[in-house]
């Protein structure tokens, strides 16, 4: 239990908050992303030297890399000024501590929670108030039964200290190296918080490992890192809950997720995200899947001003399997650019991608996907299916799949459809006594069912509810 106790101590003491506040002042006085800022973060976390070195190397790579501007039809990132954003890490901490009164929360966030019917304790978690407490409870309960089996589930910062050998080997090395893209490099430099999950050989974790809203517990959670290592024959379902709405201006969320699925292991990573509408959500999520391993990505992308997110599986071992199920919802002023990437690098590998999107009130959704079948990955198969539902003529929906096929003994299929809500369907439902809104909601609920049925009930209910609220245009 030592890791847990340390974790509690480390994060819950007044001293730490005070310390952070001091640091905040120092950081905000610094302009931009500098070595000093990185050293400060690392020192603040009392990190070992090797992690600081990795951060500094990532920072160099970040500065050396250009912003991605050459993607066809990509979201507009011109309003994003990273140099302005990073110092904002600290004000979030400040706010979290400051807003211990529910009434001090911004109205739109309060409204959301009220409409979601979320109890006040949970609302506080959602808003970042007391998230710490809530997440600790979650850990505590689960830790007991797992620990006997050797399962590790803890805060990523703590894992650096407690399990340096595992972290050192896996953290931003082979899966998501900082050199992967500019935001991966940024993440490598400023990352903070997140989850570490380690499942020993042949252990099955029967219930989902949940990190619900916990990234706010660190305050700097806009750059949270998740590392999941599933040893051979193990099985785990990790759920990252609704990553709390943020309410600073010019927010950037640039998370990193690395999943190692060893031989015959099975990992499901589910996430339902609902960002505030001023957040740039630019993430790198990747899994390396060994022989006969299975990786399943389930994600609901809600909120944000612009999202660029393409969870990726590298099917490295023979017989490895990938499943992607995603849903995106874009309302007014939102540009949700998501998709899936799969590299078939071994024979007999298989991937299935199912993508659904809804655009409304001028929102844009885009499916951007890449399926690569390497030379030698014989008998591999992939099936991609994208469906887009558009509500009105201000909205936009694009589909941009890329398929690179270097191997002939393969089966590759891509299909996409776009359509409006069927007038006939609505008419049918109305003739059964539903009003127009309810009819639409029902059709959408049916449309997203393939996603919701993959999620535990509470998440499914929440996703449904979030989409209903978006459709009513009643979310701030």
């Amino acid at each position: 239990m030592s890791s847990d106790q340390d974790h509690l101590k480390e994060t819950d003491t007044e001293a730490r908050f005070d310390f952070k506040q001091e640091q905040r002042a120092a950081v905000t006085s610094e302009k931009g992303l500098t070595e000093e800022v990185i050293r400060m973060i690392s020192e603040d976390k009392d990190e070992p030297e090797w992690m600081l070195e990795r951060r500094l190397r990532a920072l160099k790579q970040y500065h050396a890399m250009p912003m991605p501007t050459d993607w066809p039809g990509q979201p507009d990132l011109s309003e994003l000024d990273v140099e302005e954003i990073v110092p904002y890490i600290r004000p979030d901490v400040d706010k979290r501590e400051g807003v211990d009164d529910w009434d001090e929360l911004p109205d739109d966030i309060k409204d959301t929670f009220e409409k979601l019917g979320i109890p006040e304790a949970e609302r506080k978690a959602l808003s970042g108030v007391g998230a710490q407490y809530e997440s600790e409870i979650v850990y505590q309960n689960m830790q007991d039964q797992w620990e006997e089996k050797g399962v590790i589930f803890m805060n990523m910062d703590q894992a650096v200290k407690d399990h340096p050998e595992i972290v050192k080997e896996h953290f931003m090395t082979t899966c998501v190296p900082p050199s992967d893209n500019k935001f991966a490099a940024l993440h490598g430099a400023v990352w903070s918080g997140g989850s570490f999950v380690y499942v020993p050989e042949d252990v099955t974790v029967e219930m989902p490992v949940q990190a619900y809203f916990r990234m706010n517990s660190e305050g700097m959670g806009q750059f949270e890192h998740t590392l999941i290592v599933a040893e051979p024959g193990s099985e785990v379902h990790y759920i990252e809950g609704c990553s709390a709405p943020k309410y600073g201006k010019h927010n950037l969320h640039s998370g990193g997720v690395e999943v190692f699925v060893k031989e015959d292991a099975h990992v499901q990573y589910s996430t339902v995200q609902n960002w505030s509408k001023n957040t740039f959500n630019l993430n790198t999520k990747r899994a390396i899947v060994e022989e006969n391993g299975t990786m399943e990505w389930v994600s609901g992308s809600m909120g944000s001003k612009a999202t660029m997110l393409y969870p990726c599986s590298i099917l490295k071992g023979r017989g490895a399997t990938d499943t992607h199920i995603t849903i995106a919802f874009a309302g007014e002023g939102q540009d949700i650019d998501t998709g899936a990437k799969v590299y078939h690098n071994a024979p007999n590998t298989k991937s299935t991608i199912e993508s659904k999107s809804i655009s409304k009130d001028g929102g844009r959704t885009n499916y951007r996907g890449l399926v690569h079948i390497a030379d030698g990955a014989e008998n591999s198969s992939t099936a991609v299916e994208c469906d887009a539902l558009m509500f009105d003529n201000e909205s936009t929906s694009d589909t941009m799949p890329y398929m690179e096929i270097e191997e002939s003994k393969v089966d590759v299929a891509h299909e996409a459809t776009v359509g409006k809500i069927g007038d006939e369907d609505i008419f049918y439902l109305q003739s059964r006594g539903l009003d127009d809104d309810d009819a639409k909601k029902m059709i959408v609920a049916g449309f997203i069912e393939p996603i919701t049925e993959e999620l535990p009930i509470e998440y499914a209910v929440e996703l449904n509810r979030l989409i209903e609220l978006e459709m009513e245009g009643s979310l701030g």
Partner: protein, 420 residues
């Protein structure tokens, strides 16, 4: 205007000479010179791009070194029925200047990219087809046999209201130096070392109200040729443009075939077939822009890659904000016959109007082992079985080709290749 020419191989004087030989009006010469001057600032045409990667590398080719502007040679047949005009470029300049002035460069911007500008500055041969109101014309044939190191070709098709025309174009490479004497300017060129050649073609189609244009093209240039073509049409109300695209030859082909559905209730179909073997590279770009109401598009492409060939396919269905009640469909299927070949595909949907029914699909696969087994168990040799299955694979595309002659020719070329 005056420009300082910095290109190794290209000069303003050459452009003036080409234009002068064709007795072109001043405005056309100006357009050419402006295109030449713009070369330095223009980019290569867009190719399929994933972040950080171009799938066709046009920058590796030194296009200017391929070009020998004043030495061009071809054998050309361009015939059509009497009631329409099928004119060589020189004739068209003479007889239809107004038509040229109105439409030349109106659909494919001469300065759209480096290769369109190069083509505009240097084209020396071409065909203009004018179909007057109410006339139905079939069997317009354009056969171009390229007999020089480089050849730049321009084609303009204008159909007036309620007319129709079927045009079949073929491009091939003749024996070096073999030149037909005739009114065309022609001088035998010594092909450059390695026999590499460059063929560039621009096609613009202006389909008038309620007119119908069927434009079939069969490219079978020699496999040491590089080919850039840009074929684009614009429809008026109720007009239809159907394209048939057969690509068999060349070492590298970069081609765009596209329609802008600008008139209400206009339609387009783009049917494509390709067959790559050896180290051929096909970059096939198929596009439709829905810009008006009740427009319909159907894009169907099937191709085969064998040996170490590579196909790169991008199909775009772009539905504009004002394109109410759109129907848009796209299918692309690639059959890979060898382990070393590659096939890349990107069917894109860009939808800005929700009153749309759109779908696209793409598949890549190999010959079905069970089919093969079934046939060989019936006594067919494996080789014949494979050939029959490849032929069968092309059937859905061949069925879409309404022009019998083109269908037969394409079938023949496929069979010829299978026999190799």
């Amino acid at each position: 205007m005056s420009t300082t020419q910095v290109h190794a191989n290209l000069t303003e004087a050459q452009v003036r000479e080409i234009s002068g030989d064709l007795e072109e009006p001043e405005w056309l010469l100006e357009t050419r010179l402006e295109a030449l001057a713009a070369l330095d600032d223009l980019d290569m045409p867009k190719v399929i791009r994933t972040p950080g990667r171009d799938w066709t590398n046009l920058h590796d080719l030194d296009f200017e070194s391929f070009v020998d502007p004043l030495n061009w040679a071809e054998k050309k047949d361009q015939v059509g029925p009497d009631e329409i005009d099928v004119l060589s470029w020189a004739e068209a300049v003479d007889e239809h200047e107004d038509l040229l002035k109105e439409h030349f460069g109106s659909i494919v911007d001469p300065q759209e990219n480096y290769l369109t500008a190069l083509s505009t500055a240097l084209f020396s041969t071409g065909t203009v087809i004018y179909v007057p109101e109410g006339v139905d014309a079939e069997d317009v044939t354009i056969r171009t046999e390229m007999n020089s190191q480089s050849l730049f070709n321009y084609t303009l098709v204008v159909t007036e209201e309620s007319s129709s025309v079927t045009i079949l174009e073929r491009q091939s490479t003749g024996d070096e130096g073999e030149v037909r004497d005739g009114e065309e300017r022609a001088s035998g060129t010594v092909p450059r070392e390695g026999g590499e050649r460059y063929y560039s073609g621009i096609v613009e189609i202006v389909a008038g109200e309620n007119s119908y244009v069927q434009y079939g093209s069969l490219q079978n240039l020699s496999e040491d040729s590089y080919n850039f073509t840009c074929k684009r049409g614009v429809t008026d109300t109720y007009a239809t443009i159907d394209w048939i695209e057969g690509n068999i030859g060349t070492k590298l082909t970069k081609t765009e075939t596209s329609t802008e559905l600008a008139g209400d209730s206009s339609e387009t179909q783009i049917v494509g077939a390709f067959y790559g073997h050896n180290d051929q590279h096909f970059d096939l770009d198929v596009k439709v822009w829905h810009r008006a109401e009740h427009t319909t598009a159907d894009l169907v492409t099937r191709g085969v890659t064998d040996d170490v060939s590579r196909s790169v396919y991008e199909g775009v269905q772009d539905v504009g904000r004002d394109a109410w009640d759109t129907s848009s469909y796209q299918r692309e299927n690639t059959l890979m016959l060898s382990d070393e070949s590659e096939a890349d595909a990107s069917p894109k949907l860009i939808i800005n109007n929700h009153d749309t029914e759109a779908s696209h699909s793409a598949t890549v696969g190999q010959i079905d082992e069970e089919d093969l087994l079934y046939m060989t168990s019936r006594g067919v040799s494996p080789r014949d079985a494979r050939n029959m299955l490849v032929e069968g694979f092309f059937v859905p595309v061949l069925e879409e080709i309404a022009v019998e002659e083109l269908r037969d020719d394409l079938e023949d070329l496929v069979q010829e290749r299978l026999r190799e």
